[in-house]
Assembly symmetry: D2
Homo-oligomer: 353 residues x 4
Amino acid sequence: MASNSLGQIFRITTFGESHGVGVGVIVDGTPPGLPLSEDDIQKDLNRRKPGQSRLTTQRKEGDIVKILSGIFEGVTTGHPIALLIENTDARSRNYDDIKNSFRPGHADFTYHHKYGVRDYRGGGRSSGRETACRVAAGAVAKKILDTKGIKIKAATIQVGKIKGNKWVEDFIESNPVRCADPDVEKEMAALIDGARMNLDSVGGIIECRVTNVPIGLGEPIYDKLDCEIAKAILSIGAFKGIEFGNGFEAAEMVGSEHNDAISKNGFLTNHAGGILGGISNGEPIIFRMVVKPTASIAKKQNSIDISGNEIILETHGRHDPCILPRAVPVVEAMTAITLADHLIRSGLYSKKV
Amino acid sequence: MASNSLGQIFRITTFGESHGVGVGVIVDGTPPGLPLSEDDIQKDLNRRKPGQSRLTTQRKEGDIVKILSGIFEGVTTGHPIALLIENTDARSRNYDDIKNSFRPGHADFTYHHKYGVRDYRGGGRSSGRETACRVAAGAVAKKILDTKGIKIKAATIQVGKIKGNKWVEDFIESNPVRCADPDVEKEMAALIDGARMNLDSVGGIIECRVTNVPIGLGEPIYDKLDCEIAKAILSIGAFKGIEFGNGFEAAEMVGSEHNDAISKNGFLTNHAGGILGGISNGEPIIFRMVVKPTASIAKKQNSIDISGNEIILETHGRHDPCILPRAVPVVEAMTAITLADHLIRSGLYSKKV
Amino acid sequence: MASNSLGQIFRITTFGESHGVGVGVIVDGTPPGLPLSEDDIQKDLNRRKPGQSRLTTQRKEGDIVKILSGIFEGVTTGHPIALLIENTDARSRNYDDIKNSFRPGHADFTYHHKYGVRDYRGGGRSSGRETACRVAAGAVAKKILDTKGIKIKAATIQVGKIKGNKWVEDFIESNPVRCADPDVEKEMAALIDGARMNLDSVGGIIECRVTNVPIGLGEPIYDKLDCEIAKAILSIGAFKGIEFGNGFEAAEMVGSEHNDAISKNGFLTNHAGGILGGISNGEPIIFRMVVKPTASIAKKQNSIDISGNEIILETHGRHDPCILPRAVPVVEAMTAITLADHLIRSGLYSKKV
Amino acid sequence: MASNSLGQIFRITTFGESHGVGVGVIVDGTPPGLPLSEDDIQKDLNRRKPGQSRLTTQRKEGDIVKILSGIFEGVTTGHPIALLIENTDARSRNYDDIKNSFRPGHADFTYHHKYGVRDYRGGGRSSGRETACRVAAGAVAKKILDTKGIKIKAATIQVGKIKGNKWVEDFIESNPVRCADPDVEKEMAALIDGARMNLDSVGGIIECRVTNVPIGLGEPIYDKLDCEIAKAILSIGAFKGIEFGNGFEAAEMVGSEHNDAISKNGFLTNHAGGILGGISNGEPIIFRMVVKPTASIAKKQNSIDISGNEIILETHGRHDPCILPRAVPVVEAMTAITLADHLIRSGLYSKKV
C-alpha cells in the first residue's frame, strides 16, 4: 500500500494533511555538493502559495519551509533532505457539514470506501495542500538540472474556451493567470473572476516546455520518459489528461507529416515533442495537460451522506475558482523531479559535458 | 538502468528483439490456483498478430506462445510464469539501408546516441513486436480480473478525421478496424487502405472502457489509478496522449457541470471517468488515447546517417499503415496488467465479495 | 542513490543527523483504523534512549517523538505517518579534532571518499542516533503485528566471553544489560563497566525470538523471510553477522540431525529457526546477531587525516562502552518492520483468523 | 507477491522449476557494449552443474545455456539479456511418495500451506536447480566487474568438524570439494563420501573474498553493501548464516582490537571485512556463510502427509551429500550480481579510473 514515493534514484516521499501539523517531504538521492538553502526552495513555494491574487483562494498560508536534514555548511551531503512546511491557517471551524457527506468531484467518497476512516478537515491527505511538498522537492530537483543547464517553463494556455496563441516566456510570471499570451490574459482573468462570483469554477490547459535537454533521458520499455512524466503529472489532483508534441492532433495526421525529418543541423520539426522511443532526442520536450474545473464550489450540489441519504450540499470555505495559476509551478516541479531522476539514472549527471 | 519491468505486486518483465530468437515475458506475482493454459493466452495473441487482414502488416508470425514455467496440472502455482514467443518470419534480408541511418519517427536516433550499439534489424528492442509480450501477460492478468468479474474492452473510435459516435460492443471484434461504430467502419478501412497505397500511414484514437470495477483500486498519492494506467499505456510505442472521463473537454467546463452528482443509486454522471482522487469509484473507467500514424512508411524521407550526412531514406518492409486495429488488444492488456496489480495491492483480490 | 527506505508495502523512509535539527521517519503503508498515539511510540523510544544507566552513553536526549501526520481521532488513516524526534543535547562543541580525521571503525573514511562532503558532527548521518527512527517506526509495525498476536522479544545473550544459558523473558527488561540470563547479568555489567573505565568497549551477541507466527510469511526466491530479516538487521550500525536456528553450528551437523521431523502435533524440533524455504513454518523464528565492540573509544588510536598524514587520534565524547543494551529494542524494531511488511504482502493481514 | 527479482539498476528476474521445461533468467540493466557469449556463461555453469564428481548428485544435466536476447554482434545492447537452460534429465518417475507428504528440511510444508497448490516434482520452484539461473546471471555481472578488475573467489573452508586453515587460491578449482586448504581436502572428501554411504548428508562453511574493490560501493542507510550481500546470499537455499570480517568472533573482542587502524599506506588490519558504515573501504571484502547439511537424505524420517497423518518417509533420488562444492560458484554469482548493481548505482561504473 506504500505509495507516497516517486522516483527511483532521486526519490521523494511526502506526508501531511491539509489541517494537521503540516506537510513535508523527504528528498532522497540528491548528489552531494550542491548548494541549497531554504531561500532556494521558498522562491518556488511563494509561486504556489495561496492568496497571491484575487484569482486564488484566500486561505492565508505563509508556506514557510524548514530544512530538517541533509544540508551541511550550505551544500547537500548526499543524504536525505527533509523539508517541513507547517500549517498555520488551518481554521478550527465546524466541519459538521462535510464530516458525514461526500463532496462531488472530491475524493471523499472513494477515501471513505477504501479506508473506512477519513480526515475530512479540508480534504485531509487528498487536499491540494499536498502539492506544496512537490514544489519544495522540485526546487531541489532543479538544482540538479541546473548543473546541465536544463530549463523547465510551464504556463496557462487555455482557460474555459479562451485559448492563448503566443508563448511569451517573460510574460508568464508577470500576470496572475500565469498565462503565456498577453493578448488573452485579461480575458482569462475576467473569466476566472466571473466563475468565482457565480459560485462556480473553471478548467483549462497548461503547457510545459523543457529546453536544453541532453539526448538520452528515459529508459525503455516501461520507464520511457513520456510515461514517467505522465505518471508524475497525472498524480496531481484535478489533472485529467496529457499529450506530448502534437498530441491528440496526431490522430488526424499522416506519417509523412508527423515524422520529424532530420538534417545535419538536427530535427526539422518537433511533432514528437522531444521524445523518440521513450528517450529524449535533444529537442525541447513539450507537453500539454488538462486541468478540470476546481471541484470545490459554493453552489448547491446533489450528493449523499455516509449513510446513503440524499442531501443538498453547500460547501463554504476558501477555494480557488481556477486552479491553473497555482498549478503551473506544480507542473514544473513534477517535471523537474522526473527529469532529475532520469538524468542520474542515465548516467549523464556524473558525465562531464 | 533496469526498466523492463512493470507493476509492483503483479509484475511483468519482458525481453526480446524483433529479429532475434524471440520475445518473452516473466509474469511474477500471479496468485496460485488460477486455471491457465496456452490456449487462454493464444486467443489474445491471435488478435494482435500480424496478417489478420489487408489493413495490417503482411509479416507472417504464428505468434505461438509457449509456457515455460509457473503452471502445474493446469493451474498457476504462485511462481513466475515465463512465456516465450519465438520469431519465425524474421527474414534475414539485407539491412544495409537502415543499419547506418536513422528512420524518422523511430527510436533509431535516440537508441544510437544512448547505447552506442544498436540491433537495427526491424528496430530491435524498440520494435512493436515487443507488444506481443504485453498481450501474453495481459491474458494472465485477465484471469485475475475474471475472479471479480472486471471486464475490459477497447475499440478504435477515430481514424484520421473519421470519428465514430456509437459504441456497439459486439461489433468491435467483427471488423478489421476494431471500430466500435458500424456506421463509419467501412470509411475508416478505406482511409487506412488509401494510406497504404499512398505509401503513407494514418493515426487515430482508441477508447477503453472497464466495467464492473470495485470501489477502491488505486493508491494515493503517486500510484493513483489514473497515473498508473497512463504510465502503462504511454509505454506502448506510438501512443502520444491519454485522457480520462471528459478529458481535454474539461477545460471548457465549469465545476457545477463536471462534478458528478451522487444519488442514493450512485453517481448521476461519469465525467470523472470512474476515478476520484486516484481511486476507482465503482463507475466504468473510461479513457481515450491518441496513436500517431505509423512511423514506418515507404515514402522517401529526409534524414541523416550515423556520420551526420544527409540522406534520402526509403524504407521498404512490411508495415502497418495504421496501427490501431492491432493496438486495441495491447491497450486492453496494459489496462489488465495495471488493474490486476492494483486489485492485489488494494487487498481486494483475496477479499470475498 | 536513494537508499533510505526499507520495505515494499509497509515502508519506512528515514532522515536526520546526529547534530542537526533532529531525526525522523515517514511510515507508509500502515493499514487504516489502528489506534496509535505518541505514547505507544514513546514507550519503545525510552528503551533505546541514552542515559538509562551508567552502562550507556551519558548524552542526554529526551527522544520525545511528535506525530506530524497520518493519525486522525486516535487511529491510523492509511496515509503516511511522519514522526519527528528533535535533537536537544547536540552540544555545539569544537569538532576540530574529528573534522579532518578518520576515526577507526567509523564511516568517516568511507563517507569522505564516497561523498566528498561530510557532516562530521557526531558522525552525522552515520550516527547511531538514526536508530531512534527505526524504533519509532517499529512501534507502528508492532501495532500491525499485534492484530495477529505476533510477539517479538530480543535480549543480550553474550557480552565479551560471558555467555548466558537461560532465557528468562521477564528478566530482560528488568536489568540494564537486557540480559536474558539472571545468572550472568551482573558479570556482564561488570565487564561493560570495566571496558568503560579502560577507555575501551566490548561486543556481544543478541538473540531474537518471534512467537505466534502464522505460517506463510516470506516470498521466494529473493524476498525470503530470512533474507529480508538479515538485510534489515545488518543495516544497523555495528552488526557484523546473523544466523538462523542452529546457525553456524549447522556446519557440524548431519542432515538427519538438522532436519526437523514433523508429527501430527507439529515440528518435533526447531533447528531451522522457524523458516523453511524462506517461508515461516509456524514455529518460533529464532536468530542471533553479533555486535562489534563500539567503535568510539577514548583510547589513543592510529589513524590519518583527510590529507593522508598519520595522526594519533583521541576522541572524547559520550560513548556507549557496549551498544547491546540499547541495540535490543532496535533489533525488535527492525524485525517488526520486516514482519509487518510481509504480513501484508502475504495477504494474511486482511485475512480473518 | 512478485519476489523473483533482485537488484535495482542491474536486476535479475528468474523463473523455472526442477522438472518443468527449464529454468531461466532475465538480466536487465547491463550496460551496452560489453562482449558476451554463451561460452562466457557456460564456463561458470559447468562449475555448478551436477555430476562433476562422486561427491555430487548423479543427476545428469548438460546445463546448456541459450541466449535469447540482448546480445548483438557479440556485445551487450543495454537491453534485457534472457538466458534459458532447458531441463533434459527430468525423469518422469513416480512421485507418489512425495506428492502428498512433506519432506523434513524442505519447503514442501510451507509451500503447501502458503500456496495450496505445489509442483512437487523434485521440489518444483524451491529446488536447488534454480541456482543455475543465478550462476548464469552472475557470469554477466562478472563482465561488468571485470571492467574495474574486481575479482571474487569463494571456497569451502569447513565441512563437518574439519576446518581448513590455508587459503591457496589456485588449489580451489583443482579439487572436487572446492576446498582452499590442500592439507584437509582429502579428509573433507572422505567425510562427504561417508555421509553419502550412510544415507545422510553434511554441512559446512564457505568463505568468499573480493579483491580490488573500489572505495564507495554501498548505499546507506538500508542498502548498505553488507546488508545487500547478506540478502543475496541468504536467498540461496540451505544458507543459514553469514558474517563479515571477524564476524561472530567480534563478540569477544574489545574496540581497540577490532577497530582497524589506518596508516598512510592504508588500513593496518581488516577486522571489518572491507566495509565501514555499509560502504566498501578498498580492503578485500571478506565474509563467511554456513550451509546446512542437505535436507534430502535417503534415511528414514518421521513426517506427516498433507492430511496430517504421521508417516515414515524414505526419499530416494539423486542428492548431493554435501552441497558446498556446487554452492561455491553460486556464492560467487550472488556476490557478483550484488556488486555489479552497486558499482552502477554508485556511479563508479561510468567513471574512468
